[in-house]
């Protein structure tokens, strides 16, 4: 006699009564028959259908085998408290006894799904979806494969696909309901779970980016795009859709939250413009001049074309060796303008200017890698460019503590600070 028969079909198959597993006492085909009859609920299945699903074309022995397995089920599955048997059969059909109380997780999923469909109240709907999500935690009849039973295996695959589809629907439903309920955290968890199931769905990545933005987590939105771009390229060799790329570009173009102080300066400051470049998270100290390159990138983004137009194109061209984005700006300004400037200063060419204006000893010496003449010129160009920019805006940079940037850049920044060309702040948080 049994009070509670349980069938767990999601994940590894388990059949138990009163907490005791019965699976070992059932043959694979008996367990399969049981699962089939439970899942078809109160519909009757013909003996012929059951036989063909499990024994295929072996008609001669199939009816005997079916009889034997039904007997096996009756023997193993105890009657309920009212003395009822779980499986009933006659000459033609087999079916589950509706009077027999049995818990089956798949049937519970079906019940909750119907309930969730009818439920109008948002909070109740969310609760139902959470229950569904918890139930749909494993594959339908995981690892349960019967070698000679093609039709049964087909049925399992069909049900498995249906459960997977339902899982995705439930997760997405949870995400949309939580959004409506303004529970962004749970919405993000549901969307992340959906992405784990379907990592190449660009629409999901896009929704995740928007959700992070809604939560004020701009860095996470940027990282989401980068993850999406990397996974699509690695696994499918495609690039993200245009709308994702556009959102990413927009995010990059927006001011960094850490520029808030610079914005404040802009409002209050005596100069027209203030640019604060944060290199506190600057990676890769082993790449020479990377920090300077990133600094220039930040200056270019912060100043904008209008302010940069005040810098001699020759300096920009020189510095484009370190930060290629400056090249375009120097080309925009045009060589003619540059040459005019030199001529005005009484020098015929940039080269002559360089020859006439001797670099300082430090510029020429230890500061520059191997004292290469190119590096000397670059440092000079940077100093002059900063001096020209200083007429229009106030530029400052935040460096990380310790040796977190490349040593070449560290020397340059230190020099530029010493000669008053640049305001350098060290540390993780504060900026002056």
């Amino acid at each position: 006699m049994s009070g509670s028969l349980e069938l767990r079909l999601l994940g590894q198959l388990e059949i138990s009564a009163d907490g005791q597993s019965l699976l070992a006492q059932l043959s694979a085909k008996s367990a399969a028959i049981l699962c089939l009859l439970i899942c078809t609920e109160e519909k009757k299945l013909t003996r012929a259908k059951l036989s063909s699903m499990l024994w295929g074309d072996s008609f001669e022995t199939a009816s005997y085998n079916l009889r034997y397995n039904l007997w096996n089920i009756r023997k193993v599955i105890p009657r309920d408290r009212n003395g009822q048997e779980l499986i009933l059969s006659d000459k033609e059909f087999c079916w589950r006894n509706p009077a027999y109380s049995v818990y089956c997780d798949l049937l519970e999923v079906r019940r909750l799904k119907e309930q969730a469909k009818r439920q109008a109240a948002l909070s109740e709907r969310i609760e139902l979806l959470k229950k569904l999500r918890a139930l749909l935690s494993g594959e339908f009849m995981e690892q349960f494969y019967i070698r000679s039973s093609d039709e049964f295996n087909e049925w399992v695959l069909f049900e498995r696909a249906a459960c997977q589809r339902l899982t995705l629907q439930v997760l997405h439903g949870l995400y949309t309901c939580c959004l409506k309920a303004e529970d962004a955290q749970t919405a993000a968890e549901a969307l992340a779970a959906e992405l784990a199931e379907n990592p190449y769905d660009e629409e999901l990545h896009f929704q995740m980016m928007e959700l992070y933005l809604q939560m004020g987590q701009r860095p996470l939105a940027i990282r989401q795009y980068q993850e999406c771009e990397a996974v699509l390229r690695r696994e499918l060799n495609i690039m993200p859709q245009k709308k994702l790329r556009q959102l990413y570009v927009k995010l990059q173009e927006e001011a960094e939250p850490s520029d808030a102080q610079a914005k404040q300066h802009r409002k209050e400051g005596s100069r027209a413009h203030a640019v604060f470049v944060d290199l506190a998270r600057q990676p890769l100290p082993e790449i020479p001049y990377l920090a300077v390159s990133e600094f220039l990138n930040g200056v270019a983004a912060g100043c904008g074309k209008e302010v940069l137009a005040g810098v001699s194109p020759v300096y920009l061209r020189d510095l484009s060796l370190l930060q290629p984005s400056l090249l375009q700006l120097s080309l925009c300004a045009g060589e003619r303008a540059a040459n005019a400037e030199w001529t005005e200063a009484g020098k015929t060419s940039p080269e002559q200017w360089f020859a006439n204006e001797a670099p300082t000893e430090r510029e020429c010496g230890r500061l520059c890698c191997n004292s290469q003449i190119l590096n000397v010129r670059l440092l000079q160009s940077l100093r002059h460019a900063l001096a020209q920019l200083a007429k229009r805006c106030e530029i400052s940079v935040r460096l990380p503590e310790g040796k977190a940037i490349d040593k070449e850049s560290a020397l340059w920044f230190s020099y530029l600070q010493e000669c008053g060309a640049l305001c350098v702040v060290c540390g993780a948080e504060s900026s002056s």
Binding site: E139, E142, Q143, F144, Y145, R147, S148, D150, N153, E154, V156, L157, F158, R160, A161, Q164, R165, T167, L168, E197, N198, P199, Y200, D201, E229, A230, R233, R234, E235, L236, N237, I238, M239, P283, L284, E286, I287, S293, S320, L321, P324, L327
Partner: protein, 510 residues
């Protein structure tokens, strides 16, 4: 310990110089002396090891400039379906492999090409079930775009059935054929099936096989689409312990990742376009057996930004470009990066370059690009009835135009693209000399250069290896016949009989 080696009574080939040396004296892995006649007598007493080459031809150790090492290493653990022409043959090969590997779990088979099959369709789940039921079976199409699984594999791999790319029949049952998202998900699960320990052992075995074929240097292409990214990291960790020199090209679009690993190279399997076989190489005109002309996988600005970053980081790149349109995109991106940075001379590579125009060759030369090519593809796909002819029609006469490329001044480094063609530099040399299009064939010396000196040049190592001259590393392959003196058609029959790596005799069957 005496680490000196005396090699005598050989024919040590010298590029562009005659006569060949007759003996070499090696100390500390470096060729310290070389000469003719009895000049080596003075070293006989002090030599730690002496080897009589019995008059055989000695060449610089071969460099295979394009190998998918991990995939090749695991080849013996997979069923090769290249050339399988029917479901029956597919089943026969799988069953025969299973007999040889009775304890294997998942059966992995690869290289199936639908156009080779007389059924003219891919085998679905039921068809594979008829071949094998007892083991899970996964078959990959040759272009990696499709996976085919039997029912047991669908079960055991917990294949995602609700995502895009799961083909279903009229009753909505999965057919076992996957593409797109589903294919990518299954492939990544299968890549995780093989442990790093297994892969490391397989790599060691592969390196031994390479030594037996005279290969002492290899340019490995790992990671990237269709391959496991973790394989690149694994190989990088294993490489110092292998008997061959490994130059790793990491197939990632994230230059920072390559930089963080301390690599000087990136790419290899950055697929700007696809392949002729899959009709997704980007051609200037449509395929002869289809109405489309292939596809480009990148937007120009994406490739520009990638190369710009690589130039800035000092990473040597290798981009896969097969068709003319892909080559055009690669040239434009290099042009952009070069103009933006002013950097030149990094010996960036184009992989395959199977169908490029004269104008493109001229521009590639001006940009200082190296072409990494696989002459053995002409043996595999060339000729009147080959795949090139079927896909390209008259354009098949222009594939792998080695002669024109060399004449335009571009350096070609030769490789196998193993496991597409076998790890067999002699086979590659033969294919380059006996090109099916005579006007594209090259001389034996040019072909040997492709698989020796040019490989070293591509890695900026031409001052250290790739030639049998004093001061060079003693990486040497000894052949059983002089390929410069036999009929071109007989070159393919030559075999490696001894291999020296850094002055140590690692293989000898003289």
């Amino acid at each position: 310990m005496n680490d000196s080696l005396l090699l005598y009574n050989g024919t040590f080939y010298r590029f562009g110089t005659e006569p060949a040396y007759r003996w070499l004296w090696v100390r500390g892995g470096i060729i310290c002396d070389a000469g003719f006649g009895s000049g080596y007598y003075k070293y006989r007493a002090q030599a730690g090891e002496s080897l009589d080459l019995k008059g055989n031809l000695a060449l610089p150790g071969f460099c295979d400039c394009r190998v998918h090492m991990v995939q090749t290493a695991l080849k013996n653990r997979e069923v090769d379906l290249h050339g399988a022409d029917s479901f029956e043959e597919v089943g026969r090969r799988i069953r025969s492999w299973m007999q040889a590997h009775p304890r294997a779990g998942l059966v992995r088979a690869y290289g199936l090409e639908v156009s080779d099959l007389k059924e003219k369709r891919l085998p679905d789940r039921r068809a594979i079930d008829r071949m094998v039921r007892e083991c899970p079976v996964w078959i990959s199409s040759r272009d990696f775009h499709r996976s085919m699984l039997n029912t047991k594999a669908l079960y055991e791999l917990n294949v995602p059935l609700a995502v895009n790319g799961v083909e279903t029949d009229g009753e909505q049952h999965p057919t076992g054929i996957l593409q797109g998202t589903a294919n990518a998900l299954v492939r990544s699960r299968i890549f995780r099936e093989c442990s790093d320990e297994d892969k490391s052992r397989a790599l060691e075995q592969l390196a031994q096989d390479m030594i037996r074929k005279g290969i002492t240097s290899v340019h490995a292409m790992e990671g990237g689409w269709g391959f496991a990214e973790s394989d690149a990291r694994l190989l990088w960790a294993c490489a110092p312990g292998l008997p061959v020199d490994v130059s790793l090209y990491f197939g990632t679009m994230q230059p920072l990742q390559a930089k963080e690993m301390g690599l000087a190279r990136i790419g290899g399997d950055i697929f700007v376009d696809g392949s002729f076989a899959s009709r997704n190489a980007a051609l200037a005109e449509p395929y002869s057996d289809s109405d489309h002309s292939g596809q480009l996988n990148y937007a120009q600005e994406e490739l520009n930004a990638f190369l710009l970053q690589c130039y800035r980081f000092g990473l040597r790149t290798a981009l896969h470009a097969v068709g003319e349109r892909a080559m055009e995109q690669v040239l434009a991106a290099h042009q952009y990066a070069r103009e933006a940075t002013g950097i030149f001379g990094m010996r960036h590579r184009v992989e395959h370059a199977e169908l490029c125009t004269t104008d493109q060759m001229r521009r590639a030369k001006a940009l200082g690009l190296i072409f990494s090519m696989q002459p053995a593809c002409e043996i595999l796909y060339g000729g009147r009835d080959g795949m090139y002819a079927a896909r390209l029609g008259a354009r098949a006469q222009r594939t792998n135009p080695l002669r024109k490329i060399i004449d335009s001044g571009i350096t070609i480094c030769g490789g196998s693209d193993s496991d597409l063609t076998p790890l067999d530099p002699i086979g590659g040399i033969y294919a380059a000399v006996c090109h099916p299009q005579p006007e594209s064939a090259v001389s034996v010396e040019e072909a040997v250069r492709m698989f020796t000196l040019n490989g070293a040049y591509a890695e900026e190592e031409e001052g250290k290896k790739g030639q049998l001259e004093v001061g060079m590393r003693a990486d040497i392959a000894v052949l059983d016949r002089n390929i410069f003196q036999i009929a071109a058609a007989d070159i393919a029959g030559a075999r490696t009989v001894a291999t020296v790596k850094d002055g140590a005799v690692l293989f000898e069957a003289l």
